[in-house]
């Protein structure tokens, strides 16, 4: 596995006249899982879209192995850099196997036929995501978690060394969120795929990231190991929230507990008074 280097330098970008990113720098560690977190409207989605050339930067550039991605031929780029957008569309009635095979798009052309390599890529994507049993089912009949696994399978069939994902766990139940993040970790471990994703949940981000990046107001506020990044100071600066950060006993990673105005126990051993409903249950 070759380790491609994805670097953003002095990146400014936005929509129309509104600049959302203001001179952002980031080097994506090859072969690792990088997770981007931040408050709503801090530019994390815009950043991921600029990294994957969906948006052209107004200043600065995104370099893949030293070459600007906005000057690389689209199809060449799509063989190295994959993206799972936030809301891809599954054509009505399409089956899982059909959808996953569409990940082979950048490896084919108008006149090239299917090769053994294409079939192998689809097969291994279906197996890796445990969607093989679903192959003949229409995508619109699947549960949210299954559907997200299918989309990841499609991105895998594209066989890119770098995979960007925009909030891959949104709208999923917590068990499916864990399933998707475990799956992405498997891919990173077994294939060496560089994963870059935006996540909403700070604690899941800290648990699954090798490299955690906290954005605030269109800039990188702090980046590094989850232990170094997820601190009470960071949460205060990025989210404007008071919190306590402790160590998660199961993963050993930092975990953030928000402090609000209500429901604060005077001390940790004072149990909450159970409601009458719970007593009856």
């Amino acid at each position: 596995m070759t380790d491609h280097l994805l670097v953003a330098t002095g990146l400014s970008a936005g929509y129309d006249d509104t600049e959302i990113l203001h001179g952002l720098d980031l080097t994506v560690p090859p072969g690792r899982i990088t997770v981007i977190v931040g408050a709503n409207a801090c530019g994390k989605s815009t950043f991921l879209r600029t990294l994957s050339r969906l948006i052209s930067p107004s200043k600065g550039q995104v370099l893949l192995d030293g070459k600007s991605i906005h000057r690389t031929p689209s199809r060449d780029l799509a063989r190295t850099l994959g993206l799972l957008p936030q809301s891809p569309i599954a054509p009505e009635g399409i089956t899982v196997a059909d959808l996953v095979s569409r990940g082979r798009h950048p490896h084919q052309s108008l006149f090239s036929r299917w090769t053994r390599q294409d079939d192998e890529a689809v097969d291994s994507a279906l197996s890796a995501t445990k969607t093989f049993e679903l192959a003949e089912r229409p995508v619109d009949e699947l549960s949210g978690g299954q559907r997200q696994r299918v989309w990841i399978a499609m991105a895998l069939a594209q066989q890119t060394d770098i995979l960007l994902l925009d909030e891959p766990t949104t709208f999923l139940d917590i068990n499916h969120q864990i399933e998707v993040l475990d799956l992405l970790t498997d891919l990173n471990r077994t294939r060496g795929t560089t994963v870059v994703m935006v996540l909403h949940d700070l604690n899941l981000a800290a648990r699954y990231a090798d490299h955690l990046v906290a954005l605030a107001e269109g800039r990188v506020h702090v980046s590094g190991t989850p232990e170094a990044v997820l601190t009470e100071d960071t949460v205060r600066h990025v989210f404007g929230l008071e919190s306590r950060v402790i160590t998660d006993p199961t993963s050993g990673r930092p975990i953030m507990l928000p402090i609000g105005r209500h429901r604060m126990a005077a001390s940790t051993d004072t149990a909450r008074e159970p409601s009458s409903k719970e007593k009856n249950a």
């Binding site: 969906l54 957008p85 054509p91 569409r102 299917w114 097969d123």
Partner: protein
């Protein structure tokens, strides 16, 4: 290892199944086009034996058949096929690109724009021949640009584009009616041609410019068929798969407008063929392959069959557009109700 080889065999079988079903659909549609074409040549007011039809097609002089088949039925059938192919192809290209069956050129005003320009060129400027098609294509592109521009706000939202298009279409329809009104010497038949579309009085030399437009613009569209398939997954996903989205979209718009406008200049806006062909083809093909060619063939069958019905199977004679209009309107109502309820796509 055995597990692996069995799964890859399943993957291969699955893919071959799609390819085979697609080939079957294409063949069936092709046979259907040829069959309906043959029937319209052989059966009219009188029945011409197949042997005679063939001899006329090969250029022989056949008493009692040369005129009815060679002069009346053949030009009509050829023009019907070509117009149907153009409408079917141009319509589905828009529907797939904008991921909405309502985004068909005859709903969003492109057909009426081309029609209005053609009527203006013929009635007011006394033009004729290929220059009318050029006029229609330019106007069609202009309307496409106008509708696109009017519905643009932080990107084009499908519903806004369709509503703007319906409004623009209504305006252009009234332009057509106005021009026809102010031309007193105009025959009812000609008026019908520009209001609903008709292949009455077709001549073979009308077919040639249409054939060139079909080959050129159709070729451009087919060369983009893979990228159109990618666009069905959403603009972002298409870009991630290596499609240059805005370039593809521009090429597709120009080519589809070229097809629609050329056909409209030849036959008038045959109602709802562009709108109906794609969804019908979609029902048959499902997701087994690109909808472009199936939809083109469906368009050809629709126009040929609808013209035949209008000529021979109804009491009195009706131009083809009246028949396709009667087919298309209920489907439009059904679609609006359905989209309203679930917000579907093609």
């Amino acid at each position: 290892m055995t597990a692996h080889s069995s799964t890859i065999n399943a993957v291969i079988a699955n893919r071959r199944g799609r390819t085979r079903r697609y080939a079957v659909v294409l063949s069936v549609l092709l046979v259907l086009v040829v069959a309906v074409f043959a029937v319209t040549l052989a059966v009219g007011q009188s029945v011409t034996p197949p042997g005679d039809v063939l001899r006329v097609l090969l250029g022989e002089e056949v008493a009692g058949a040369s005129f009815s088949v060679g002069q009346l039925r053949l030009p009509r059938a050829v023009l019907s096929i070509l117009a149907g192919l153009c409408f079917g192809l141009g319509g589905v290209a828009f529907q797939v690109m904008l991921r909405n069956p309502l985004a068909s050129p005859d709903i969003i005003g492109i057909t009426s724009g081309a029609g209005a320009a053609a009527v203006f060129a013929i009635v007011v400027l006394s033009m004729s021949g290929p220059i009318v098609s050029v006029f229609a294509i330019v106007a069609g592109l202009g309307v496409a640009l106008l509708v696109y521009g009017l519905s643009f706000r932080n990107g084009v939202a499908g519903t806004r584009l369709i509503l703007v298009g319906i409004g623009v279409s209504a305006m252009l329809q009234s332009v057509i009616a106005y021009i026809l009104q102010s031309a007193p010497a105009w025959s009812l038949q000609e008026a019908m041609r520009w209001l609903t579309g008709s292949v009455n009085g077709a001549k073979l030399d009308q077919a040639l410019p249409l054939l060139f437009a079909l080959l050129f613009f159709g070729g451009v569209l087919l060369s983009r068929s893979r990228d159109l398939e990618a666009l069905r997954l959403g603009d972002d996903m298409a870009a991630a798969l290596g499609t240059r989205v805005s370039r593809t979209r521009m090429l597709v718009i120009v080519a589809a407008v070229g097809l629609i406008a050329s056909a409209t200049a030849a036959t008038g806006p045959i109602a709802f063929v562009a709108f109906l062909s794609g969804p019908i083809a979609g029902r048959i093909v499902r997701n087994d392959g690109s909808l472009l060619i199936p939809s083109a063939l469906t368009g050809a069958v629709l126009v040929l069959a609808a013209d035949y019905v209008g000529q021979h199977l109804l009491p009195g004679r009706y131009p083809v557009g009246v028949v396709t209009g009667a087919l298309g309107a209920p489907y439009l109502i059904y679609l609006i109700i359905r989209v309203n309820r679930i917000g579907g796509s093609l």
